[in-house]
Symmetry: D2
Subunit: 137 residues, 4 copies
C-alpha cells in the first residue's frame, strides 16, 4: 500500500472513533510500521498540578503503537492491546504532544511495538511498550 | 485521619482537576491505602469497535493507584507516577467501570501500588501496576 | 488430571531442564492453575551486596507463572513467555525463597499469569506479571 | 572518569559478585551511560526446549542496565532495581548472548535505563526496561 493511502486510511479510522475525536488525537504521519499521532494540550488534559495527565500520555502511546501495528495487518485482521507499559520521564502539558509508534516485531498471533512521547521541543516525556494480540476481525 | 475525611479530601482533589472532571472520574470509596474510583461509560469513551479505550482503562487504574498512595502521604508530600503497567484481560464499555487501587509498598522515596479495573458485573477488565516517586510538594 | 499427577508431571519437566537443575529450582506444590516453586539460596545466588540477584527473583517468578499456565494446557500445546514484569519490593537472600504462580486469564492464543515471590517469613520480595503466547508444540 | 577506568571498575565489581561469576557474565564494553555484558551460552543456560531461559535473558538485561546506571553514579551512591520489564522477541541459545544497556534518564532518586539483548548475529532477542532507586550506599 502506498504511503498516502496508509495515512488516509488511519485518519479515517481515527476520525470514526468517538473516543479519539473527543480526546483530540490526530494522525500526523504514517508509513508501514511507523505512525505519529499528536494532541494539542488544553486545560482539560491537565491534572491538578498543571501537567498532562499520565493516562493521556499512555493513551497517545497506545494509539501510536497500535496504529503502527495496524499499518502492517491485512484489512481483515485486527490487533488488540493486551499489555501496555509506560515509563514517565518528564512532565508535559503545554503545546503539542506527539507520540511516535514503531513496530518492533510482527508475529502471527502477537505483535510488539513501542512509542516515544515527546513535546514540541522534542523532550522525551515517556517511553511506551505495547503487546498486541492479532486475530481475524 | 478518619475515613470520612480521607474520602472528602480525595473528592476535593479530583474535583479540582480539570482532567478528571472532563473524563468523568469520581471517587467512590477511600480508606487508608485503598481507593475506588468509577466512570460511567458513554459514547465518547469508546473506540471504533465499541469498547472502552485502553487509554481510559489505564487512566482509571493510574488514578485509583495514585489516590491510594495519596491516602498514605503527609499533606506536604506528593507522588508522581513513574511507571505504569496494564494487562488487558477483557473488553469493557457499558455501564459503570470501576478501578480499585491498593498500596502494596510504601518506601521513603518510592511507592508501589496496584489496581483492578472491573465492570458492573465484577468482570476483571485489567490489572494495573504502578510505581510512584515520592517527594516534597 | 488429578493433583498428584499434575505435581509429578511438573517435577519431571523441571527435572529434565538443565537450566532448572543448575539453578536449583524445585516444584513444591501444584494444582490446576497454581504452582509453587522454591530455591534454597546459596552464595552463588547472591550479588555484591549479599542479596539474591534480581535476575533470579525474575527467574523464579517466570518459572512459577509459566508452570501454572502449563497445568491448564493440553499436552500438545505449549506456552512461551512473551512479556515479564517484576516489581522488587524487599531484598531477599537467606534461606528458602518461594514463588507462587497463578493463572489469571487463559485465552486461546494468549495467557496472563502472576506470581508472588516470598522469603521464609512470607515477606513479599517481588510481584511478577507474565504474558504467554500459546501454540501447538 | 576516563573510559578505561570505567571498564576496569565494572569488571572488578562483576568479578567480586559470586552470582555473576557463577552465571558467567562478563563486561565487554563500558563508557559513561552505556555498558555491554555478555554470556557464552552453555547447556545449563538452556531450558527444556533448548533455548536460553528467559530468566537469564532478564538477568543479562538487568545487569547491563544496572551497570550503565552505575557508570553515572558517584562512588558513594548505589542503584537498586525496583522494576524490570522484558519483552521476548526471539529465542536464543547458541553462542554468545550480549546485552547492551543505556541510561535514558538520571534523576536524583530514580533512574530509568533500557537494554537490548542480542545474539551473535545481532538478532534482537529481547527489549528490557528497568527502573532504579538511587540512594547513598
Amino acid at each position: 500500500m502506498d504511503q498516502g493511502r496508509i495515512l488516509s486510511d488511519l485518519r479515517e479510522r481515527v476520525g470514526a472513533s468517538a473516543f479519539h475525536r473527543w480526546v483530540g488525537i490526530e494522525v500526523e504521519e504514517a508509513e508501514e510500521g511507523t505512525v505519529t499521532v499528536s494532541l494539542q494540550a488544553t486545560d482539560h488534559h491537565r491534572n491538578l498540578i498543571g501537567t498532562m495527565h499520565g493516562g493521556l500520555v499512555a493513551t497517545l502511546g497506545d494509539t501510536a503503537a497500535g496504529l503502527a501495528v495496524r499499518t502492517m495487518l491485512e484489512p481483515t485482521r485486527r490487533g488488540a492491546t493486551i499489555q501496555l507499559g509506560v515509563h514517565y520521564l518528564a512532565p508535559g502539558g503545554a503545546g503539542v504532544v506527539r507520540a511516535r509508534g514503531r513496530v518492533v516485531r510482527m508475529g502471527r498471533s502477537v505483535a510488539y511495538a513501542e512509542a516515544d512521547v515527546v513535546d514540541e521541543d522534542e523532550v522525551l516525556l515517556a517511553r511506551v511498550t505495547a503487546t498486541f494480540a492479532l486475530s481475524e476481525d
